[in-house]
Every structure is written in C-alpha cells, then in structure tokens.
Subunit: 199 residues, 2 copies
C-alpha cells in the first residue's frame, strides 16, 4: 500500500488540528484548512464564517429556529448544501496530490482510496478540558460542557451524513491517544506510518 | 513519560500475538506467553491447558453446566480463582522489568503504571476470517462465527472483571488496524513509540 493522503479526525481539544499541521509541515505537503473553507464558501455561496462554524454540523445539531429557516421547499437544509459543497471540494483537493485534511468526514469521503491513511486523535476529557482552556481561554460555560457540546455536534453530523460511527476503529488505520502519547510523539507516529508506506 | 512495559490487547485473528512476539524480539525484551500460563498454572493449581483455554473467560462465558460445577460454596467460580492468580502473576512479571504481555486484561491490571504502553490491535472481520483459516485451518464452524464467539468471550470477560469496555480508546495509547497497516508496519509503530519514550 502506498499512502499519499492523510485524513485526521479528532475529538475537540485533543490537539488534532495542531498535530495535522505539524504532520503536513514535516512531510512538506499541503494542509488544507482555511483554503478548504474558502473553496467551500466559494462553491456554495455561504459566508466563510458560516462554513467554518457549521461545516461539521448536521440539521439535527442546529437550533430549532435555524433548522426551519434553513430549509428550502424541498426540505434541503443549509447544512445539506454545505455538505454537498464540502464533498466536492475534498474530492477535488485529494485529487490534486498528497495532502493532510482535518475533520469534515474526509475519512468517509475518501474511504475507497487505497492511498489514504485515516487517523483518529483521541484524548481523555480531563486532558482536553485543560487544553481548551489553555488554547481558547475560559468562558461562562464549563470546559467539560463545551467539550460535550462540540463532540456531540461532530458525532451527530458524522453519523448522519456517513451512516457510520464516529471514532469506531473500523473507519481508521490508527487511533492515537494524544493525551497519553503526547503531541510530538503522535505527530512522529503518523509521519512514520506515512513515510514507510508512501512511495 | 518513559515506557518499559507493553501490553497488547487484540481481536481474535488480528495478528496481535504475532505482532507482540515480533515487538519483543526487536526490542530484545521478554515476551510472556507460555511462561505466563505456566506460572499461573503453578500458582492456581489448574492445568496449563485449562489456564490457556479459560484465562480470558468469565463465569458468564462458560457453559451452564460448567459454571455450576466450577463454583465453590461461596459462589466463587474457577474463572474467578484463575483471574486472581493471573492478576498476581502479571503484576509480578511486570515488576521484573521491561516486557511484552498479550491479552489477559494486562492493560487494566497495569493501568496505574505510567511506564506501560497499552496497545489494542484491531482488524476488519474479513481480514481476520481469512487469517484464522490460514493460521489454524478450517473447522465445521464458519470462520466468522468462530471470530464472533472468541471475541465475545474476550469482551465479556474483560468487561466483567475490569468494569471497562474492551477496545475503548480510553484504555489504550494506540489502536492500530493491522488489516490496513499490515503486520510489519504495526510492529514498527509500536517499536517506534516504545523506543522514543523509553529511557
């Protein structure tokens, strides 16, 4: 097997985005984050902020009011349209060559590509709670509640659009516990797997 | 964090035992398998074959007849006594120095040891079914059913004795999909994590 694409799924606060960025830097391949958001915004007509905020939501994770306003006469929600645009952009980006893509069900969208290394980053809640306070500061909402809310949105959206279970080993090649291994070692293991199997 | 012990939990047919043996050989540290069984047999008085066969079972996974015969007047089953002997032997072996231990809830027993690297080996059913036929030959029972039965016993036993969920990311540092990564690469990643963090 020869890898060229890396998809990184991650629990909120696990350091997944930081890890993905470092992996891409070490391998000297593109890391699609802001660029992905801009391309989806361009394709869909939605505002980049909306794409960033809602790109990992399903119609069931929005507020009730929004869910109604956001549906057209065929019952298609804004999230559904966003999902379609995201699918196209991710497939286009992956067809360009080696890259790292974070979240947004990329592991599912690229599930038939033999050259995709699918990684899921996990960490205990205590580790993630500490990390989000360090990274994003405190808010009125307790960090544990912020984690639960964000992960629930990601999980519901993933399960809704893919029909699979978020975080299930069957979907990934590696599940790494960044809280136990540390960020640097997690990066190293992904780089190692990619380099060995990339040709 | 500095690692000295590696525990490897595995789905039946995932190649976990082969991987554990190769990891121990490459790191030149003991691999406790037959020796563990003999020590448990010695400590418990059970026959080594019984220890090997039942060491990853709980009272709920034995046949009904056996479960009744195997209980003493206090309601303690043979599996419970075996579990106690296994706990002691695993703790003793781990206290001797670096080693690799396969299965037998070692990840749970050594959960408080900061120097233990806990690995879970996963693979899809189709990969495992093919592998057990290659490794152990065909039987009257379909390979998929053999996998289900063996994994159910391991899962029920693990959950019963540990109060945790077998295969849940929280229990491990790494979950590696040997079917997708290949046996050699899986070995390499474990060796890499151990060597980097071992001092």
């Amino acid at each position: 097997m020869s890898y060229s694409i890396i998809t990184i799924s991650r629990m909120f606060g696990s350091g997944g985005r930081t890890i993905a960025k470092a992996v891409a830097e070490q391998l000297n391949i593109p890391f699609y984050d802001k660029e992905l958001i801009e391309l989806v915004a361009e394709k869909s007509g939605f505002h980049p902020e909306f794409v960033e905020e809602r790109g990992e939501h399903s119609p069931f994770t929005t507020t009730l009011g929004y869910a109604f306003i956001g549906r057209d006469h065929r019952g298609v929600s804004s999230e559904d349209l966003l999902w379609q645009a995201q699918c196209q952009v991710i497939e286009e980006l992956a067809s360009k060559g080696p890259c790292v893509i974070v979240g947004r069900c990329a592991d599912y969208l690229l599930r038939d590509r033999e050259d995709a290394l699918h990684v899921y980053i996990y960490a205990e809640k205590s580790y993630r709670a500490k990390r989000i306070v360090e990274m994003y500061g405190e808010t009125d909402v307790k960090p544990e509640k912020r984690l639960d809310e964000k992960d629930k949105k990601r999980r519901v959206s993933y399960d809704y659009y893919t029909g699979r279970n978020w975080g299930h080993p069957a979907n990934y090649n590696m599940i790494l516990n960044s809280g136990k291994l540390g960020i640097d070692e997690t990066v190293k293991l992904i780089v190692e797997a990619y380099q060995t199997l990339h040709s």
